[in-house]
């Protein structure tokens, strides 16, 4: 993934919900640099979900309908204290 795409992902990690901003900010700072190319693609895909759905996945309140995204969701959840 080229640099532009990476930076676009960083910007798109800014959301309309504070809870998401806080969680994704931490993930982007600590984990994003270590993600492999396929993981980055999955993260980009995850960012397509509406804010409320995304928050529910990250809080474990509901399950993302796309099982391919489960590992990246787990990783974001693990990035939290």
């Amino acid at each position: 993934m080229d640099e532009v795409e990476l930076k676009r992902i960083v910007w798109r990690s800014r959301r309309g919900l504070l809870e998401l901003d806080l969680q994704l900010e931490r993930f982007v700072a600590e984990d994003l640099p270590q993600l492999t190319e396929p993981e980055l693609v999955l993260y980009r895909e995850l960012l397509q979900y509406p804010d409320n759905d995304l928050l529910d996945y990250l809080n474990g309140r509901s399950e993302c309908p796309n099982p391919r995204l489960w590992p990246i969701i787990a990783r974001i959840r693990a990035a939290q204290r």
Partner: protein
Amino acid sequence: MSVPVRKFDAVIVGAGGAGLRAALQLSEAGLKTAVLSKVFPTRSHTVAAQGGVSASLGNSEPDHWHWHMYDTVKGSDWLGDQDAIEFMCREAPNVVVELEHFGMPFDRNADGTIYQRPFGGHMSNFGEKPVRRACAAADRTGHAMLHALYQRNVRANTQFFVEWMALDLVRDADGNVQGVVAMEMETSEIYVFQAKATLFATGGAGRIFASSTNAFINTGDGLGMAARAGIPLEDMEFWQFHPTGVAGAGVLITEGVRGEGGILRNSSGERFMERYAPNAKDLASRDVVSRAMVTEINEGRGCGPNKDHVLLDITHLDPEVIKSKLPGIREISIKFAGVDPIKAPIPVVPTCHYQMGGIPTNYRGEVVVDGNVVSGFYAAGEVACASVHGANRLGTNSLLDLLVFGKSSGNSMIDFIKTAPKDLPELAQADVERSVARVEALNTRAGGVEVNDARSAMQATMQKHCGVFRFKDMLADGVAKILEVEKLVQNMVIGDKSKTFNTARLEALEVENLIEVAKATMISANARTESRGAHVRDDAADTPQNPNGRDDENWLKHTLWYRAGNQLGYKPVTMKPLSVETIALKTRSY
């Protein structure tokens, strides 16, 4: 230097509820309409609204727009303009039903009508008893509203410019607004969006405070742009706070936690609410609890290394109760405070939630300065001050504000565009050049203050000196301090000078907007020597002559802060509604 120009009938900055509602009006009228947004429209901060939108539909019990109007005037502590409030409350049923027709999935009653629930401050029969007035779509009202409006706009051919940031307003030599300067994030290219009519719908600026429930995107860009263009900001001392946000994060801890037996404690572990409210204790009303918390912190009994918060203790509750009755809270606390509330108390602090002030408009959405309409300029939503919320907003009245004034400003713009000459006038260059130079200064400055440091200094100053409960000396110091912080902001430096998605530069530009809001807030608050609504001062106490510290004789007026020289001006509150009698001044008590 030549900046490329794109031409439209109307340009709207902001794709939250207010911007989308206005855009729809314009596009459906067949006008060429551009909407700019920093983020994808449905990720605007409106998505955070859960509670609902108010309208006196009377689906569950009798209700009337006049009662809604009374509640709103009273909620505003009489600082709201009664013409605008009447307009909003009368329009409410229309815009809500319209939204239903746009596909908004409202919760429904068995008979198919929109389900309504009670919400704080909304009463029947002029303050008699609570009424069901809030319409919601499960706990996703804001989200559903954005979706319905966005889909409809796509159908109406609104042109969206997503991931574009407006930088500055463009005014000609006579002050007429010609459009905005904006930057495409992906390329950092700067364009002028020229239009016959320009609307700001950029939302609030809650990020001026260290503790805020607002998403990172709420940086008051519209306010910064307006202030730099010589437009005053109205009533910026009025901000709504919630007593318990997670310290350092801002995420809300619901009042239900205290309802289930949660106790507030200071640094020595004392249950301090016993001193402030011997009967209600931790269940006292929001403002009483917030005030007590701030007093504890100010008097040195705060917790943590900086003594800047208090603790919300639920460790004495049965873990099973916590897990079953307060499940979300455990999660929030572990995630955002790093403590498991079953084992340790949660650090909390009063947290900024909503901005009542903004760009001065009338109920048609036209921006009004010194009694005159600014030709071609409109504002709606949280960025605007119509003023319907006055000194204090009622819950669910904000989403209503977006719909009513989004629509009315759209209509005003249509009328204006129809009478404007067919061809756009020659573009004035002075503001364009100033805007480009502002970005250039950030690109070329070497050595200076880190953006994060400047922002943190501003947020800490605002939180400490101009928070939920205010003190004369702290405010006076705060004015000096925030002007010092402004110098840091003027000297910000960014490491990344690249052209593509330069988030460092975007954030610096946002801080340049936030500081304008911070100054306006501090200076306006320092000057207003009474308590009214959300602006509560220690030195303006409850007396028989001035109940609750409100001083109508001297302060029943709107503040106007002008950026040039930090001047303040005032204008009267409009006490005369459109068709009914004035709702006469009274002490606000519930």
